[in-house]
């Protein structure tokens, strides 16, 4: 049995060096050379400043922008480090609401959000993804129906015809991969950037 002790130590250190140091560092080097923008996090710059990542949702509250899904992410409470406070789209602390199907807190939150959206656009059914929080709290996407639902508000805030806004939405819908995998969706940040560009013209 004693002769197993040397391999237990040396082999562990060698394999740690290979899999825990050489492998991640080599992948960082190769990925940085092959896919530099993606390896850094698909960052989007506007006028030389980073405005976000193409893959990470951000909070939109103004009427002139399309809104993403509700986010349940939190941040440490500045006044009491043992507690947390709501901090939507906190990209340094991802997470979901973890409220279960029979949660009263969830039922109350859903009702409040649905009522608010119905008063904003009484003519369409409220899409489920627009009132439910995502798993990561950083979902960059909404469904095409959820974008469609917000068109009247955005068009009004921007003094644009609804059809023009609808066209921009349609141009930003991503379908299923090979018509099969995933779900149709609209990247909210990309859509809002496209709107700003259209407005600037």
């Amino acid at each position: 049995m004693f002769r197993e002790i040397r391999p237990a130590i040396v082999l562990l250190l060698v394999l740690t060096a290979i899999t825990g140091v050489a492998y991640p560092l080599a992948m960082t080097g190769i990925a940085g050379a092959l896919f530099p923008a993606k390896a850094q996090g698909s960052l989007i710059e506007k006028d030389g400043k980073v405005v976000g990542s193409a893959l990470i949702g951000q909070e939109f509250k103004e009427d002139k922008y399309f809104h993403g899904r509700p986010s349940a992410t939190v941040a440490p409470d500045p006044n009491d480090s043992t507690k947390t406070v709501s901090a939507p789209y906190n990209a340094a602390n991802s997470g979901g609401s973890n409220l279960g199907p029979t949660s009263k807190a969830l039922a109350d939150r859903l009702k409040e959000d649905v009522d608010k959206l119905r008063s904003e656009n009484p003519n369409a059914a409220v899409p489920v993804d627009l009132v439910t929080t995502s798993a990561s709290g950083l979902d960059p996407d909404i469904s095409p129906e959820a974008a469609e639902f917000q068109v009247p508000r955005v068009a009004k805030a921007r003094n644009m015809p609804q059809d023009a806004v609808k066209q921009i939405v349609a141009a930003n819908v991503q379908g299923r991969l090979f018509g099969l995998l995933g779900e149709p969706r609209v990247n909210v940040l990309a859509l809002n950037l496209a709107l700003d560009r259209a407005a600037a013209r």
Binding site: V14, G41, S94, N98, L99, P101, L110, T132, G182
Partner: protein, 567 residues
């Protein structure tokens, strides 16, 4: 449920079946020590590793030596993880300036990673440095997976060899698993993941100014290299807190599909390795069929439950299924499928929050783990877990016809059955026993996030996941407390090693037996009758053990939900 949803599920199953044979062929060659197409590159490295660590690759080990070597290896792995977590504040690769991780959390995480559980009481981007992610977590992702494969191969050798005292050399098996199987796949896989948008950088967290002028700190890191092995090795511990739901940890529908494939690939291929090594590939296909029957049934139920939604959603006329805790790019079907896969295997990565699943939709992941994660299962662990059930099923069949049971040419006798029962019974002792404590001990009760039966399910899920070395969670439960850090660690430890040691004892005892040729009285173990028998034994043993606990949790919650009750 939609047609396109079912097509995705069928496509998934078809690709897994198609991968089983070629990967099984390759892995069989690796573990028989034969040449492969990677040998010209890897053989010199392999020989160098044996030389420097003093391993004689020709010398085989008795099952007890093999097991002791495995345990020694894990003691070292534990010390490395615990050490770098405690010391991360003064070590390099810490751009976010994370402080030392607390003692109980470091202990829990170290146990979690050496047991291939990868339960996340730590917060990923908010708790640990890049160094911990690489040297502590990425490396142990490889080694706990390589260990699982090695143990499965040793057990297979127990069946395939006759009248010998040895089951292989642990050091050789672990090195070959790492070098020839895990590492080459991970290199290609990690690059694919980066091509889908997954970050791979050692740079600082990014400070962005959003379109509305708010500040957003975006956590990045060497994500892809860790995610590749996290999925392939059925580890499941996320780089980020939200795991595979985080857009950086699973950017596209394609990355999601490939991640799901990689969870099952090696586990499925090991059934083929088993078939090849015992000299009849149909023995492997029969085992894969048992797994397939249970898997498809689970997918069907969870997909149906999630697509049906909840009473709360229906009351507000919200259609489209239960999207709380799910990502738009995956939708209902890919989230449901992922949840069943990750718990059937002992992966535990999640692309949706299981805590927010419907009662029945969340019950299937729970059942998958309580059955012992034998539906494909963890790399290696799934196969040896399933073989324990096969031993029992064969024993039951032998009782029915009054003959000494045999399986692939080996007599199954009292010692094997006792060891199999020990390994199978220790699991419910852990998860039911600790759950009983967790729902009455006041400090533990305070950790529940949801009230009513759902809170009970959170506790049951946590201990089931820890015991099964899964690592997924009903994540509302606050696990990072002194009570949970210690009790979950004990469940993970017992769930892993109290299953491994009896399984290895069976390997040793079988290897020493003579091989007997099949006769007219031998129960055929490649047909539908055998598959049905094993499925039946699994469901009966499982059902008798945990049905009462399920009745208190998801089942009563479903009834309450149908009655429109909230808590």
């Amino acid at each position: 449920m939609t047609l396109i949803g079912w097509i995705q599920i069928i496509l998934y199953c078809a690709i897994i079946v198609a991968l089983t044979k070629p990967l099984g062929w390759y892995m069989t060659r690796v573990f028989n020590g034969e040449r492969t197409f990677l040998s010209p590159v890897l053989r010199p490295i392999e020989a160098g590793i044996y030389w420097i660590s003093g391993v004689d690759e020709k010398r085989e080990q008795h099952w007890l030596t093999y097991t002791v070597a495995m345990l020694l290896f894990h003691v070292g792995g534990f010390l490395i993880i615990y050490g770098v977590m405690r010391l991360q504040a003064v070590l390099p690769f810490n751009p976010a300036g994370q402080g030392a991780v607390a003692e109980d959390l470091s202990f829990n995480t170290a146990i979690s990673f050496i047991t291939n559980t990868n339960w996340q009481n730590y917060g990923g981007e908010s708790t640990v440095s890049y160094l911990v992610q690489m040297v502590g977590l990425t490396h142990q992702n490889f080694l706990s997976a390589a260990t699982g494969i090695a143990l499965a191969v040793a057990l297979i050798r127990g069946f395939s060899r006759a009248s010998v005292r040895t089951v292989g050399n642990f050091w050789v098996d672990v090195t070959r698993s790492t070098l020839y199987v895990l590492l080459p796949i991970c290199v290609l896989y990690a690059l694919f993941l980066v091509s889908q948008g997954m970050p791979q950088t050692l740079g600082d967290y990014v400070e962005a100014t959003t379109l509305e002028g708010a500040k957003q700190t975006i956590a990045v890191g060497p994500v892809a290299s860790q995610v590749a092995i996290k999925m392939l090795g059925t580890n499941g511990g996320g780089f980020f807190n939200a795991n595979a739901a985080h857009p950086f940890e699973n950017p596209t529908a394609l990355s999601n599909f490939v991640q799901m494939l990689s969870i099952f690939a090696i586990g499925a291929a090991l059934t083929n390795v088993f078939g090849r090594m015992v000299g009849n590939q149909r023995q492997g296909w029969a085992i894969l069929s048992v797994m397939g029957v249970l898997f498809v049934a689970g997918v069907g139920i969870t997909y149906w439950a999630e697509a049906s939604g909840t009473s709360t959603l229906h009351a507000l006329s919200l259609t489209g299924g239960n999207m709380e805790g799910k990502e738009v790019r995956f939708g209902i079907v890919a989230s449901s499928l992922f949840a069943v896969i990750t718990t059937a295997a002992s992966c535990g990565a999640v692309n949706a929050m299981h805590d927010s699943f419907t009662a029945l939709g969340g019950m299937i992941p729970l059942i998958n783990m309580q059955l012992g994660e034998i539906i494909i299962g963890g790399v290696g662990a799934g196969l040896y877990g399933m073989l324990l059930f096969v031993v029992l099923a064969i024993f039951v069949a032998g009782l029915m016809v009054g003959r000494t049971p045999e399986y692939v040419g080996k007599k199954i006798e009292a010692r094997e059955v006792k060891m199999a029962m020990l390994a199978i019974l220790v699991l419910p002792l852990m998860y039911l026993g600790w759950t009983a404590v967790g729902v009455v001990y006041p400090a533990a009760v305070a950790s529940m996030a949801n009230a009513g039966p759902h809170g009970f399910t959170e506790v049951l899920y946590a201990f089931t996941s820890a015991t099964g070395n899964n690592g997924s969670a009903f994540a509302g439960l606050t696990g990072n407390t002194f009570f949970y850090n210690l009790t979950l660690a004990s469940a993970m430890f017992v769930g892993r090693f109290f299953m491994i040691v009896p399984a290895m004892a069976i390997a040793g005892s079988l290897a020493a037996k003579k091989s007997i040729p099949p006769s007219a009285g031998t129960f055929p173990t490649t047909g539908g009758l055998f598959v049905g028998l094993v499925v039946g034994v699994i469901l009966i043993i499982g059902g008798l053990t945990f049905f009462p606990a399920l009745a208190l949790g998801p089942i009563v919650e479903q009834l309450a939900m149908n009655a429109g009750q909230v808590f």
